[in-house]
Symmetry: C2
Subunit: 234 residues, 2 copies
């Protein structure tokens, strides 16, 4: 999607409301700002506000609904034989992209959310919905296998935790640094623990085996890291 | 703690308020019940209610604060060389014990929570606090290692997801079945992915090695399962 198409897809009034809201949140504080204050500054009526946002909290997170819909569509469009853990990691990367599209807005919001308990609660419920979207996809993929729902829930939760650990570290750095590389590294840890190996290239012998020798007392994640390195995965 | 000591530790008025609240929630619905209704049925004043519970939501989850405190104390009392993943799994088992102490109350509450969005949000915030307690302990244990905070967050999240998957499956079965065995199985999956091997028994040669041979295309979790089996862990 080009920058022009994106500008067209987001109604200017919606953007104006978000901009007005954040200006006031930063000047006066979140709790001290009313919806009336926001619409007055944006020069629109209350009904316009509620056409775009069900509540004041929603204007703080204006893109999560779109991102949730994008993630659900992305997962629904997966190839039937897509490696499931890699696929949910790619789904999580859609959330990162939303944050990285506008670093200064994301950093402002991060600081605001840390200060306002109601916004933290809202964010928890959004994170939970992302996690459920990933888990539902994995449950579908693991149907019939043993412990399908357990594996789905644990992996979805691990993916979200890794993504959020990396995202928060990027937000704490004021949006400096390479968000994508940080998240890739974090998701790589989850893939090492749960993911399948990529399909072998056609020119490779499919019966190719990997031998790992490990001291019995070694932590399992080290063994997994060893296997990862041997398999030459990123 | 004996049953007698536990009865003494819980003031009867607090128990009476919880019992009255649940009777009304089941009869009239949660939203239709006020704090005034609860105190009238329990035969106490409003101030007594708020001495024990900050809000109506808190009476639905009367034992989480105690359980969070127990978990924090349990983790703080860990031996310095305790295997950290096993330790957080044992911490999570304290939550299960709280639910399993009173199956019919837990099942009633589960049904209520599913129906009331405000209670689901409350529960998410409680779950988040358990997860942070486990993650904080792991961060302390992983200090200095590479990716300490990432590993701590991912493992804490995976432990909570596994615990809750098993807990919900037990609650959906109306509290029938063996909650402990179900949770042990779920936590075993997380330990297989992230946990260290137990220290070798003294009579075993410490340089003992494990050899795993795996086809290159095998899913990593299968390889991990293989290692688990070889190491003879439960």
């Amino acid at each position: 999607m080009s920058a022009t198409e994106k500008a067209e897809a987001k109604p200017p009034m919606r953007d104006a409301l978000v901009a007005a809201a954040f200006q006031l949140f930063l000047e006066r504080g979140y709790e001290q700002t009313t919806v009336d204050d926001i619409v007055a500054l944006a020069g629109v009526g209350r009904r316009s506000f509620f056409r775009y946002f069900p509540s004041k909290e929603d204007v703080v997170f204006p893109d999560h609904e779109r991102c949730l819909a994008d993630m659900t569509a992305f997962l629904a469009a997966s190839e039937a034989d897509a490696e499931p853990v890699r696929r949910v990691c790619d789904g999580a990367r859609l959330v990162l992209r939303m944050y990285a599209e506008n670093p200064s807005f994301s950093v402002q919001r991060y600081r605001l959310t840390k200060k306002v308990p109601g916004l933290r609660a809202y964010e928890l419920s959004v994170v939970w919905r992302y996690e459920r979207a990933l888990a539902e996809y994995l449950r579908g993929r693991f149907t019939g296998g043993s412990d399908g729902s357990l594996r789905a829930d644990v992996i979805a939760s691990a993916v979200v935790a890794a993504h959020n650990n990396a995202l928060r570290s990027w937000l704490r750095s004021d949006g400096e640094g390479d968000a994508t590389a940080t998240v890739d590294h974090a998701l790589g840890y989850v893939q090492a623990a749960f993911g399948a190996a990529p399909a072998p290239p056609a020119d490779e012998h499919p019966e190719d085996v990997v031998v790992v020798v490990s001291r019995r007392g070694a932590p399992l994640w080290r063994v997994v890291q060893e296997i990862e390195t041997t398999l030459g995965r990123s």
